[in-house]
């Protein structure tokens, strides 16, 4: 299952989430507690952001005892990094607008 590029954009549009994802990319797997210590926001907020990143396929979680460890899945960014992926989304959206225009031209 591969999340839609839209989900990736939404997940990464938030600077706090982006910072969390970057930290996991650079420093490897970490607990929610360790991430919270450097995030500048509360632990519930960090957990919520991590859930959004997980829904977008950008992070994995692993339960160990009472702690949840998070790790980055940078490969999930592939559809965005590759311009062909971005352009495919662009053309799909433009075709929607084109069909809408054609329907209006009927009237």
């Amino acid at each position: 299952m591969s999340p839609a590029p839209d989900d990736l954009f939404r997940a990464l549009a938030d600077p706090t989430r982006r910072a969390l994802f970057e930290r996991l990319c650079q420093d490897g797997e970490q607990t929610v507690g360790a991430l919270t210590a450097r995030a500048g926001v509360s632990q519930p907020a960090v957990s919520k952001h991590l859930a959004a990143l997980k829904a977008a396929g950008l992070v994995d979680d692993r339960r160990e005892g009472r702690e949840t460890h998070y790790s980055a899945r940078p490969r999930a960014l592939a559809p965005l990094v590759d311009w062909t992926g971005r352009m495919a989304g662009f053309w799909e959206a433009r075709f929607d607008a084109l069909e809408d225009l054609l329907n209006r031209m009927d009237q």
Binding site: E22, Q26, L77, W83, A88, W91, L102
Partner: protein, 147 residues
């Protein structure tokens, strides 16, 4: 899915999008080639249906694409260059867009193919984790272009 880590820099890449349109090719052709109609679904422009004509497509995000009509065969196919210069060379895009219209029983099969190079794409991901950070730093630019 294409794997960025295995993409060679300078490699030609192609994206193809196809759609069944419930309108005849002649009408679709007008939407593809008349500037005021193009502006409604694509971008503001100074397009003219003449091979060799140079024009710009101007996006709402402020970006400007440099284009030139390469071929034109009403109401079957239309091709123009689609080049985007960016202050960061890693985001330059040199490509060609080709629309192909095929009549069907219910309207038109529309196909758009975009093929192009982004020569130093390797720099954008770098293969290692450090490369991803560079990409993320530029994400706002990408996001504004998606809008």
């Amino acid at each position: 899915m294409t794997s960025p880590a295995q993409s060679a820099p300078g490699e030609l890449k192609t994206v193809v999008i196809e759609r069944e349109i419930a309108h005849p090719p002649e009408k679709l052709w007008r939407a593809l080639t008349q500037p005021h109609l193009m502006a409604e679904w694509l971008m503001r422009n100074d397009f003219q249906p003449t091979v060799g004509h140079r024009f710009n497509l101007r996006g709402d995000w402020g970006g400007v694409l440099d284009c030139e009509v390469l071929s034109l065969e009403p109401p079957h196919s239309l091709s123009y260059s689609w080049n985007h210069r960016h202050e960061n060379p890693a985001y330059d895009l040199t490509s060609v867009v080709t629309f192909t219209l095929t009549p069907t029983a219910t309207g038109t099969h529309l196909r758009v193919q975009q093929s192009g190079f982004r020569p130093d794409q390797k720099q954008a991901f770098g293969g290692a984790h450090a490369g991803w950070k560079g990409f993320l730093d530029k994400l706002e630019t990408v996001l504004s272009q998606e809008g």
